[in-house]
Symmetry: C2
Amino acid sequence: MVRTKDPAVRTLLIERAAQMLRAREPVTLRSIVAGTGVSTMAVYTYFGGMDGLWQAVRQEGFTRLAARLATVPLTPDPVRDLAALGAAYMSNALSNPDLYRVMFDAGFALEDPAAADESLHSLVRAIERAKDTGRFRPDVDAVALATQTWVIGHGLVSLVATGPLPRQALDHGAPILTALFTGCGDTPDRCRQSVELGWHPDFAPGTPQEHPSAPTTAYP
Amino acid sequence: MVRTKDPAVRTLLIERAAQMLRAREPVTLRSIVAGTGVSTMAVYTYFGGMDGLWQAVRQEGFTRLAARLATVPLTPDPVRDLAALGAAYMSNALSNPDLYRVMFDAGFALEDPAAADESLHSLVRAIERAKDTGRFRPDVDAVALATQTWVIGHGLVSLVATGPLPRQALDHGAPILTALFTGCGDTPDRCRQSVELGWHPDFAPGTPQEHPSAPTTAYP
DNA sequence: TGGCTAAACATAGCATCGCTATGTAATGTG
DNA sequence: CACATTACATAGCGATGCTATGTTTAGCCA
């Protein structure tokens, strides 16, 4: 080695790409480096091209998601925590919808799946606690249930962020999760209360929205 | 008017775009018209640009979806039919994943939402039948439940088609729908049987897959 | 310490993208 | 039958991602 890469440049470019994504500005090779003083070649020395930069941005998205989920306070009610994790997942996605889209529109796996694994594992931990406290049946497959919870959250936030469903459709999250968790053995009434406690507080309908969804008279 | 547009050219271009999408070829302005004999300007006279063509392709996708759902045979068991509609939805999406992605990655509404409405309405009809036959409680909101079913289907097919979840994860559809429909008043055992009857036959795990999903050791 | 080497970085140019300006051919209407 | 308006073709523009080439810089070892 003769000359060493500056890691700050790498994070600078990722940060700038994420920022432009959030601002809904077109993020191109030349627009990224504009103003930073670095040349377009930096993208190639650090990421090997635009695809590599997108992958790095994707990784950053999963890292932020894991960090966001880590801030969810745990309570003695694991079912409530489960719903709260789901709400935090959607809150994170909706506060940065374009980054969320980038996270999932690539066809290849992540370079370092640890962040994504950690996100799912935070759900698994809550499910295990629910089993330990007797809320869920002992035969519940924690990873499977976590995946199913993820599927619901992704479907909801995806349809809301890309347009077809209005933001109010997020309210569907609570009844779906309630049905799912009730099916795992929880008492219906208690489950409903726990889910609504964990789900609602984060983003009440009527929250000011940065990116208004498209007018959708056709969809419920 | 002096010279009239040829509608065949319009459908030809849409068809060709959908075909190239299915073949995973890059679909560009010049590659679409290549070999058809028409010039690049045709895209502008018929669609006003590439955005217009994408919108037309999107519309075609929803039309095909509605047609696919219309072929689902109705049985005396409305819950089974509901699951069968969900399975047909996913089968349609997975047999043409890129078209499915185009259908949902636009930020604006469809020109003619009738096809999309019809797709959702086929779910609503099955739910109404389930209410009429006493499988679901009378106070179930049919449109809300149809939307929730859609959310689950979209979340599942979206995560499977874009990579993160392996194709086997489609099996999660049955337990989620079972939990959802059981929460509407159906008897658990009976609901599970109906859902598995409607869900499974269409695409059993192990079905040869056109577009193998990315290797995902990190995800369940 | 100083020169050699390889990596980091800048510049210029290429192929291709969507799009528009301009010109030509064709058809329905008066 | 002549006109006007629309469909269609060609050429070129700005911008995209990427690569080839040259320049500068920093680390290693004699």
